[in-house]
Symmetry: C2
């Protein structure tokens, strides 16, 4: 081992993490391309490319001298400034996660994820769960293996170890508590909202067809209003909307339905919320761990802040509606502001999570949370998933999917190996409600601005309180810092009450 | 050093080269994306990603134990079969090239290439050579440094060392000889052809506009005729047409001009020729050096075989013309077969290489060959390039570009660091003429089939004689094997005479 001073060790680590960041960026391009551009026949070659990049990143991170450098740098951490200390702490955390998974398992996981995801695309289109089950079964086994390895190394339970990689510091016990609080009022609240809405005329559905080109144009207009910079990003189409790429080249996707423009537009707003977060991360820390987004709960809070909180306000819908009429030549009662607002706020149990309203959405997440915990614990196997899914849907939402395509095959997460991710959607919704309330207090003109199609006050608030923080704080610290309260259910509950029961 | 048997060393090398192939595939996606999809603001992050992947590939290839493994495997090469011996020989060759360039130079080159190429895009659009010159100057210095390092290690001259990386075994002395043979007849032949064409009415130019969507559709139709499989590839748009991706996911590009559909279509045919070569490489050797394309001369021979030799035959143009009329609603004398044929065979000195006819094209290449040899030798600096370019155009083609955008900034090669590449275009044209003559002998029905839009006999010939060989032979051996003659100018000369002076 070469002798060097503590700063040299930390600087060497920064170089190494810059390299890892570039590798991660390359992986993001491969992933985006696979979902948007790649012809199906390229799947095997792409799986190999992704597996090799994962392996190289893993080798780089877990190289023996990384541990030495970390130890040296930590010994002298007191000489570092606040950001650098936080950066070093993140390096330690990321290193601990990486060293917990053996290299060959990283490779096998990467290949199995690619393969299972490609099979899922076909299986979902053909509503053929039987063709997916064997690959999913193999993938679940590998994820269990990884969870066990991480649990051992990190001193966590297997499921907590997976959770921690998506939402640093998050434990199943937090989720159990918050979900129990939600369950204590949500079913009753749902019933109340549905009764309230049943007393009104059902919203009229604007009649299509709505040409894809027009929908896309409208999506781009709204993205520009939100501050999306097309010199630093793109909008494309994929099976499942997502935000990919890197902060300075943000790739968002949506999907279009010619019979309904309202969904695709909200998906665009949702993904633009994610993208603004990435773009707003502290630019001077690009390439370093502390400059990254702080986990998926905070990420989802940013997308829902724009999609659910801001874009569904009365003011913004009133602003948007004339644009809808102009884009699609719509007129008549279905195209009135009040009707569009009620359309966007319609609450009812439904099959598809990504189309669910914000009142029933947590129930979709609770179902997935229960099932994936059972799968990781070894209490549920791939072959038994459809039945367990349908039972859960019946007990939580009172409906049963007519087929697996609209049941347990609807989401990309499990086929792509993401277990421990789903709960962050609902934690993000709780955080979004809390952040929006705080933003309105800090920026008294926020709601009036939204009525003018102006997102600047909202974005100003989150740029400072959330985006610019990077990974300098934990997710819970960010919420506390930005809202003055720990993450909880009360802002969400107030929000639902006010929006759905106030008149 | 661990003792192991010779096969173990070779197997370990195969694993390493599989990894390098996956890294190369990832780099191909990043490169394709940058040219077709990436917003300009993503350039800096992409340059970093590409530089890091280049560096990792270089580190992997030049790791100390690679040399050990190669030595061990070579000691026992006699126990290997023919393909494996050729594979090992390619490993040795690739390793020698890689170890010749120091790692930090690889990194600096990759960054400077990305930066210069991005600057070139803007500079060419703005016709502003002054903004390109400083970056190009830096890049040329780095390429000189690389050429010197390779020359030293490989025992070649600096320019030969660059040439060898694009066209294995090729030396400037071969090019000097072949180009001298060409120059001995080409200027006179060009004059004769122009006089001959001047005695006929000038071809009429079909009048547009030709909508991009129609051109694209036509391009796809012709790609399908040629056997392009869209389950294993795509067609997109870039500044400069190219073939990227990997054999099982081939990404070709073209560019469209609404005033002229004929060029874009031929670019598509050209790139599809490249793509067919990649797809036809021996599938059982995917990921191994011997399974790769055998250098740029052979590559270009495949694109020109389809574009210049096959697609400009009277039979194929007669087949295509009704499709043109249908696609663009054309009628009248400009849309007659004979006129389209004369349009596609019009010969005259012009400014832009990629738009040049096959008679003047070698003169464009000779200019670039002279200039880049001078640049590598240190006899020509970036700031003096425009003047040298314009002088050369005047002396070789008798015309002077009105601006640098249509002069020395027209090609992407130098701004992206490719020196030693240009000569392969003309060597490829010679090879294509020789291969087409041989294919017609081997497949007597070939020309009649082209008249039916059927490329099968031609493709059958090259699949067996060229594509399927991979890198098992040298470029010159492939030509000899496929045509019975060494690479020369006589088939090209006969072809030009027959096509342009026979009636």
């Amino acid at each position: 081992m070469t002798l060097r001073n503590s700063t040299a060790a930390y600087e060497a680590l920064k170089d190494r993490f810059n390299r890892l960041s570039a590798l991660g960026g390359a992986q993001a391009v491969l992933h985006w391309d696979r979902a948007t551009m790649m012809p199906e026949g390229g799947a095997a070659a792409r799986a190999e490319q992704q597996a090799v990049l994962s392996l190289i990143a893993h080798e780089t991170l877990t190289a023996p001298d990384t541990a030495e450098l970390l130890a040296e740098a930590e010994d002298a951490a007191s000489s570092l400034g606040e950001w650098d200390r936080a950066n070093l702490a993140e390096m330690v955390r990321i290193h601990a996660h990486a060293t917990a998974t053996p290299a060959d398992l990283v490779m096998r996981l990467s290949r199995q994820k690619s393969e299972t995801e490609m099979i899922w695309r076909r299986a979902r289109a053909a509503n053929d769960y039987a063709s997916l089950a064997p690959a999913l079964d193999k993938l679940i086994s590998l994820v269990r293996e990884q969870a066990a390895a991480k649990a051992e190394a990190l001193g966590l339970s297997p499921y907590d170890a997976l959770l921690d990689s998506y939402d640093p510091g998050r434990r199943a016990s937090d989720i159990d508590r918050l979900f129990a609080e939600l369950e204590a009022f949500l079913p009753d609240l749902l019933r109340e909202v549905m009764e309230h809405q049943a007393s009104e005329a059902a919203p009229l559905v604007p009649e299509g067809p709505f040409p894809v080109a027009r929908q896309e144009e409208l999506g781009r207009e709204v993205m520009r209003l939100m501050g999306f910079d097309f010199a630093h990003g793109r909008l494309d189409v994929s099976h499942h909307p997502f935000t990919g790429g890197v902060p300075d080249d943000s790739r968002i996707t949506t999907r279009y339905d010619e019979a309904d423009f309202t969904e695709s537009l909200m998906a665009v707003i949702h993904e633009t919320g994610h993208s603004l977060y990435e773009r707003g991360l502290p630019a001077e820390w690009r390439g370093q761990p502390v400059g990254r987004a702080r986990g998926m709960t905070i990420h989802e809070s940013q997308s829902l802040l724009y999609e659910m909180q801001a874009a569904r306000t009365e003011g913004f819908i009133a602003f948007l509606t004339p644009h809808f009429r102009a884009a699609f030549g719509g007129n008549g009662p279905a195209w009135e502001v009040d009707n569009i607002l009620r359309h966007y706020r319609k609450v009812r149990p439904s099959l598809i999570r990504v189309q669910a309203d914000e009142v029933t959405y947590p129930l979709h997440v609770m179902l997935r949370y229960r099932l994936e915990r059972a799968m990781i614990a070894g209490d549920l196997e791939a072959r038994d998933l459809p039945a367990a899914w349908n039972d859960g849907m019946q007990s939580l939402l009172g409906i049963t999917p007519p087929d697996d395509a609209s049941g347990c095959m609807q989401d990309i997460h499990w086929p792509s190996g993401s277990f421990g991710y789903f709960p962050t959607y609902t934690l993000g919704a709780l955080a979004a409600a809390q952040l929006f309330a705080a933003a309105k207090q800090a920026e008294p003109g926020l709601e009036a601005a939204l009525g003018q199609g102006d997102f600047a006050p909202l974005t100003r608030f989150v740029r400072e309180k959330v985006h610019g923080i990077g990974a300098r704080m934990t997710p819970d610290e960010i919420i506390l810092h930005a809202t003055g309260e720990p993450l909880g259910v009360s802002a969400f509950r107030r929000h639902i009450n006010r929006r759905y029961l106030s008149k």
